[in-house]
């Protein structure tokens, strides 16, 4: 890939993405030549006794433990680390304007202490943490406390920048939701269940506090290269919620 360097341009992004996809298809055809038993991309690997199926586009979230072949999850971990720096640079160029607006809002909103920010985002008070732990010491959160709430979810989400493949990034997003759930649990009734009305403002808080540089580039990269099989499942909704937060932050009015 020689897309970046002098004269690198965001218009080259589509080309670059197509090239990555072409590599995937090409390499997968080689892999299938070497292992003729492998089904098509998106096909399922049949359990030994059951009959093979010709279907494409299956989900690998199937509960019955069906294994789905996905050439992106098979080959991207090998391919992407080599191509990542130039590709990500192109995504950053592509997102430059939105990113600038996003970053300006991030800096401005992050000046607020936790409780002011939570209330500004419309997070219901029942979700506001009361205690924080500093070096193992339990302290009460007061109105001037900053960066004390949902720390573990925030720190988890920050790891998104350290991963290469869309599936690893999706795992980071999923872990963030899990951490958030764990952090909220002690404050709520045992029969409480998340709904989006509650979850979105809280996740927005986490995204804001995570202060991720180039979040727009991360989001577009995942969107372009994620395994289409998971797009409409739970992972898809988690990713969509991250994307929604990125867009919301850009348009968030100031306090």
């Amino acid at each position: 890939m020689t897309y970046v360097g002098v004269g690198s341009n965001r218009r080259l992004l589509r080309q670059a993405v197509q090239e990555v996809q072409a590599y995937l298809t090409h390499y997968y055809s080689i892999v299938r030549f070497l292992f003729p038993g492998l089904p098509d991309d998106g096909g399922i690997i049949p359990d030994p006794p059951t009959s093979p199926s010709k279907s494409r586009h299956n989900s690998n979230t199937a509960e019955q433990g069906v294994v789905v072949v996905s050439c992106s999850s098979l080959l991207l971990p090998l391919l992407l680390p080599r191509l990542y720096p130039p590709l990500f640079t192109l995504y950053c160029l592509q997102e430059e304007q939105e990113e600038a607006q996003y970053w300006e809002r991030i800096l401005r909103l992050n000046k607020q202490p936790d409780q002011a920010l939570l209330s500004f985002l419309g997070v219901q008070e029942k979700f506001w943490p009361v205690w924080m732990s500093i070096l193992g010491e339990k302290k009460q959160i007061v109105s001037s406390s900053k960066d004390a709430c949902f720390v573990s979810a925030v720190e988890t989400l920050q790891q998104i920048s350290t991963t290469f493949t869309p599936s690893d990034k999706l795992l980071v997003i999923q872990k963030t939701f899990e951490e958030l759930t764990q952090e909220v649990k002690p404050m709520l009734d045992s029969d409480f269940l998340w709904c989006m009305d509650d979850l979105l403002p809280l996740f927005l808080y986490v995204v804001l506090r995570a202060r991720i540089r180039n979040l727009g580039a991360e989001v577009s990269l995942i969107e372009d290269l994620m395994d289409p099989n998971v797009q409409y499942g739970e992972m898809g909704l988690m990713f969509t919620t991250l994307k929604a937060c990125y867009i919301q932050i850009q348009h968030e009015s100031t306090m």
Binding site: S55, C195, L200, N229, G233
Partner: protein, 221 residues
């Protein structure tokens, strides 16, 4: 999304549909789907997103249907995020509270938006919830039903509290989505729009437990 892989050695088909749930904060949309998917929460298998993402498997006239129900945030400040969530949906359930006229107005706004963005391909259900509070009704039955008809949507009355009308709502929606999917399939079979790429569609997989749609598809929109 693709109408991929139809046909095969056995007759069983699985349809996978994405359904988006829209409605203002207090109209009870979450209780509605929770009622419907309730049995899911009897066991310990709870998803990360809990009631924000629910799935249901059905069997309708011998065809298997997988529903993925996406919850959305109903607050006004997040209104602009709607399109990100309802992208590629096969169906939308728009819930209002029969005792709250504003919530019905909101539903009208969403209908307008959905029709504009997704055309007639999306099956719309307008749901008047909380019929157990009929004495405080502020949205008349006639008004709601005639409105629904005028925009090509179906209207339902439900009570999440009394578990009324919910089963029918989802069953009906599934049937309509299947019809839409079958119409698309036929169109594709005729080669009428083979090259047409579309943002939405339905995946028909043969003989698999679960499937999520992907890729391009025919469109009749």
């Amino acid at each position: 999304m693709a109408a991929g892989g139809a046909g095969g050695n056995s007759g069983g088909k699985t349809y996978s549909f994405k359904v988006v749930l829209l409605g203002e904060g207090c109209v009870g949309k979450t209780s509605l789907v929770l009622r419907y998917c309730e049995n899911k929460f009897n066991d310990k298998h709870i998803t990360t997103l809990q009631a924000s993402f629910l799935t249901k498997k059905l069997n309708i006239t011998g065809k298997r249907v997988n529903l993925a129900i996406w919850d959305t945030a109903g607050q006004e400040r997040f209104h602009a995020l709607g399109p990100i969530y309802y992208r590629d949906s096969n169906g939308a359930i728009l819930v209002y509270d029969i005792t709250d006229e504003d919530s019905f107005q909101k539903v009208k706004n969403w209908v307008k938006e959905l029709r504009k963005m997704l055309g007639n391909e999306i099956c719309l259900c307008i749901v008047g919830n909380k019929i157990d509070l009929d004495k405080d009704r502020h949205v008349s039955v006639e008004e709601a039903e005639s409105y629904a008809e005028s925009v090509g949507a179906k209207h339902y009355h439900t009570s999440a509290k009394l578990n009324k009308g919910i089963e029918e709502l989802f069953l009906d929606l599934c049937k309509r989505m299947m019809e839409t999917a079958q119409a698309e399939e036929r169109l594709k079979g005729n080669g009428a729009s083979q090259s047409a790429s579309s943002r939405r569609g339905v995946q028909i997989v043969d003989d698999e437990p679960q499937a999520t749609p992907a890729g391009g598809c025919c469109s009749s929109g």
